[in-house]
């Protein structure tokens, strides 16, 4: 289907004094008809370049790429190649051309010069296949991210390709949208025998693939079935990647000398594997008791009382985004805020620095009633970092961008310099960056510079909306490391909106769950994730590890059902295997 032979690719330098950047560094690879291949790699490993080479959007500097025997460097083949191999991109917004779903689906077939009746047949079929037939007349901006990507896939499907390449097409979606897209891709591969190349840095998505390619520095460094690839945990970590959580747990247990047969890629497999070793060790069943972290001593820094917010009151677009929310946020805590898209998370945090005004109710931050007069002071106390904050960079140099906020606070030049230095240290950024343009940095660096701009205002409360969206596993881990550091060293209260339950479980002191604008729960992660059934009703997941242990406990095995992290899990299993029962000391760390 697709063949790479000795392929190199260099991006032409933007100016003559820069060297050309080599994105693909000698790839020879063959993808067979009907295969489902996952390509993994950290940001900047060359995986997107590889996708573009397949679609003849780029042509190799050296070597050849064939798609069904067609050489991509031969100009006259380009249209035939793109007809055979369709591509779905990362940003759902930037690939929808038309103002209605229907006309967007028709765009590809129209370009192929098909007969209107045939176009009609194909788009109806494609829309039904992806489950969007009811939205045919809708405008794309009214759809959710997952729906938009399904439209994009249907648009490709209507061209009847034999292969679809998805270039990080799930990375900007929430968990629900991601599931929608992945299920669809899997069915396409199975039912319609369409070859799938799925480029991603979410390891869990690669589990179902027939084959995994791991890229780093423009090369394919590992190749094999998921089970083999994911057993090479240390190599993957070196490539800036990670393995699925349950696989990590199995790896950790093996390191501690616990004999396991085989490896596990999914919760179900891990459950089987653990059941086997537990039964073999003859562990007796035990009565369960739940434990929870002691609550942080209560010194509320934010008091929210009966907060209601209605968007566009009195119009047909009226929407109650927050409904009578009352809660306290404690000084120095890390609070996770979870809830499905549209549950009111963003609306809630935008009240904290006065971007939104309550329709009714009140918000008090550090003794300050939120209102018009206190706006300036409020925004210094509360630092709000939106999703993809790097999109807000605008200055000529990194330094100027970072001091944009602090310079408006009436600080002395010396104090400002001092602060910049401090935040660079917290974020692990080098001072050499300061004179560079923010636009020439890498994605991860940009994100940190944007965060630095808010941190330099030294807010007492830091609010982050999906701070790790779009970052690879290593980048995400770094973000959480410095957030924890900031929380420990300067006692900053941190609020994190996240869809990643594993992160919430691992780093947050408390979790607030929002649903339809109401505060559904506010408790320790242990207690919140203990209510799996309710969370499921709210369309929320629980951490994989927690799910695994709950399943085990439900089948009568003597494990705690409230285990949150890999470390706790490994401790628990190790302790049980030594016949001592769960080690609570270990769990609290």
């Amino acid at each position: 289907m697709i063949e790479f032979r000795d392929v190199y690719f260099e991006y032409r330098p933007q100016s003559t004094d820069q060297p050309a950047t080599r994105a693909i560094n000698g790839i020879t690879e063959r993808i067979r008809q009907g295969e489902f291949v996952a390509v993994l790699g950290r940001n900047g490993s060359g995986k997107s370049t590889m996708a573009r080479l397949m679609n003849a959007l780029l042509v190799p500097t050296q070597g050849t790429v064939w798609v069904e025997g067609m050489d991509t460097s031969r100009g006259e083949m380009v249209w035939e190649i793109r007809k055979t191999l369709g591509m779905v991109f990362q940003n759902p917004d930037n690939q929808i051309v038309a103002t209605t779903v229907e006309e967007d689906l028709a765009f590809g077939p129209e370009n192929l010069g098909l007969d209107p009746a045939e176009i009609r047949r194909r788009i109806d079929d494609a829309a039904r296949y992806v489950g969007m037939e009811e939205h045919m007349r809708h405008s794309p901006h009214m759809l959710s991210g997952g729906q938009k990507q399904r439209v994009a896939i249907a648009g490709i499907l209507a061209m009847e390709p034999r292969c679809i390449v998805l270039d990080e097409s799930t990375s900007m979606l929430d968990p629900r949208g991601r599931k929608e897209v992945l299920n669809l891709v899997r069915t396409l591969n199975r039912e319609r025998k369409i070859t799938i190349v799925l480029i991603t840095h979410h390891m869990e998505e690669a589990v179902d693939a027939d084959r995994v390619l791991v890229m780093d520095n423009g090369r394919i460094i590992m190749e094999g079935v998921p089970r083999d690839i994911f057993s090479r945990v240390d190599e993957l970590k070196k490539a800036g990647l990670n393995v699925p959580r349950v696989t990590q747990l199995m790896h950790e247990l093996k390191k501690r000398g616990i004999e396991l047969d085989g490896s596990a890629l999914t919760v179900e497999e891990a459950e089987e594997s653990l059941k086997r070793i537990l039964s073999r060790a003859g562990i007796p069943r035990r009565h369960m008791n739940g434990t929870s972290l002691p609550e942080k001593p209560g010194d509320p820094i934010v008091r929210i009382r009966d907060l209601t917010h209605v968007y566009m009151p009195g119009t047909t677009f009226e929407k109650k985004a927050l409904d009578n929310v009352s809660m306290d946020i404690m000084r120095g805590e890390i609070l996770g805020i979870i809830g499905r898209t549209g549950s009111g998370k963003s609306t809630l945090v935008q009240h904290l620095n006065g971007l939104l005004k309550p329709t009714s109710g009140s918000v008090e931050v550090d003794g300050l009633e939120c209102g018009k007069k206190t706006l300036k002071e409020l925004r210094q106390k509360v630092g709000l970092i939106f999703q993809y904050p790097e999109h807000q960079l605008f200055e000529e140099t990194v330094y100027k961008d970072i001091i944009f906020g602090p310079a408006r606070m009436g600080l002395s030049a010396e104090e400002i310099r001092e602060r910049v230095k401090r935040v660079l240290e917290i974020l692990g950024l080098s001072e050499d960056l300061l004179e560079k343009s923010p636009f020439e940095l890498s994605g991860g660096q940009k994100r940190r510079v944007a965060i630095a701009g808010v941190l330099a205002m030294e807010p007492k409360i830091l609010v982050l909306d999906e701070p790790t969206a779009g970052l690879d596993p290593q980048g995400s881990e770094e973000v959480f490391k410095f957030l924890t550091r900031l929380n420990r060293t300067s006692g900053t209260t941190i609020l994190i909106i996240s869809h990643n339950m594993d992160q919430v479980a691992a780093y947050c002191d408390r979790v607030a769950v929002l649903n339809d604008g109401r505060l559904e729960m506010l408790d320790t992660p242990r207690n919140v994730f203990g209510r799996e059934e309710r969370l499921r009703e709210l369309d929320l997941d629980i951490p994989e590890i927690t799910r695994l242990f709950r399943n085990l406990a439900r089948s009568g095995y003597p494990v705690s059902s409230d285990v949150l992290t890999i470390r706790e899990a490994a401790d628990e299993i190790a302790a049980i295997m030594q016949g001592q029962g769960p080690d609570k000391e270990g769990m609290l760390q």
């Binding site: 129209e110 677009f317 971007l355 999109h391």
Partner: protein
């Protein structure tokens, strides 16, 4: 929130107006608007008003929905009309010092108000019943003859429809960037004009950067879906001048005769 501008947004439907060829809708809307400017007796106002009301009914669009587009314009309309009251000379009705309200002024204000309302309603009747795509298609086809003298008709139409597609997206983005910069201490509401204009730089730079990035990505996505200009391209919806359009045109001519006929008879 800027993202919910309702003026003339397409409302799906199957009415006669929805089914007309966009070209006949564009032409007849233009004719109608010229006619609205030409009427001046109250009889003509009544006939015109009745006709537009009839079209509204035919379109099957709830009256409330179609008048909603007027709301944001109401203030401007009212001000224009009221100014007329004071500046038209004639028989004085009320005299308050230097301010004179005349009978003619009052009449002309009321008429102007209705004239403007009819203009807006007839224009939005077109946009309410025509998808932006159909509209740009219509424009493209109408400009087709100009291609011979070098007017890139297809490209212009494509640009227009992409612009329409991205307006809501860019609005949302502007909103988001403004909020983010406000969180960093940017102040958009105080200071003199120069200062305010300057305060928009932190919004405009990221907005342009992102718009260019979007343009790049969109171009890539379009190319990978085999887009190569109008060459060899067919359309899902062939716009076709049908019997319905012929009937509508005859009805339109009859209406014009009814409206302006009396002028010639007199």
């Amino acid at each position: 929130m800027m993202r919910n501008i309702t003026l003339g947004q397409y409302i799906p439907g199957e009415s006669v107006l929805h089914r007309l060829d966009p070209r006949s809708k564009i032409i007849w809307t233009a004719v109608l608007m010229v006619a609205v400017f030409m009427i001046d007796t109250w009889q003509e106002y009544v006939v015109m008003g009745a006709f537009i009301a009839l079209l509204l009914v035919l379109s099957g669009i709830p009256v409330k929905q179609s008048l909603k587009g007027l709301k944001p314009l109401l203030l401007i309309l009212a001000i224009t009309a009221i100014l007329n009251i004071f500046f038209v000379k004639g028989t004085p009705l009320v005299e308050l010092g230097p301010v004179v309200i005349t009978y003619e002024g009052l009449i002309s204000a009321v008429m102007l108000f209705f004239r403007l309302v009819m203009l807006v309603v007839s224009a939005s009747l077109m946009t309410l019943t025509t998808t932006p795509m159909a509209m740009t298609d219509g424009i493209e086809r109408m400009m087709k003859p100009l291609e011979r003298i070098g007017v890139p008709a297809h490209e212009i139409a494509m640009m227009m429809s992409i612009a329409l597609r991205f307006i809501p997206t860019l609005m949302e983005e502007t909103d988001r960037i403004m909020k983010a910069q406000a969180s960093r201490g940017a102040d958009f509401d105080t200071g003199n004009l120069l200062k305010r204009v300057k305060s928009f730089i932190p919004v405009l730079v990221p907005l342009f950067v992102s718009a260019f990035k979007r343009a790049d990505e969109l171009a890539e996505a379009m190319e990978s879906r085999c887009y190569r200009g109008s060459k060899g391209r067919t359309r899902l919806k062939q716009i076709r001048f049908t019997m319905l359009d012929l009937e509508a045109s005859i009805a339109g001519i009859l209406f014009l005769a009814l409206l302006f006929g009396p002028r010639f008879l007199a």
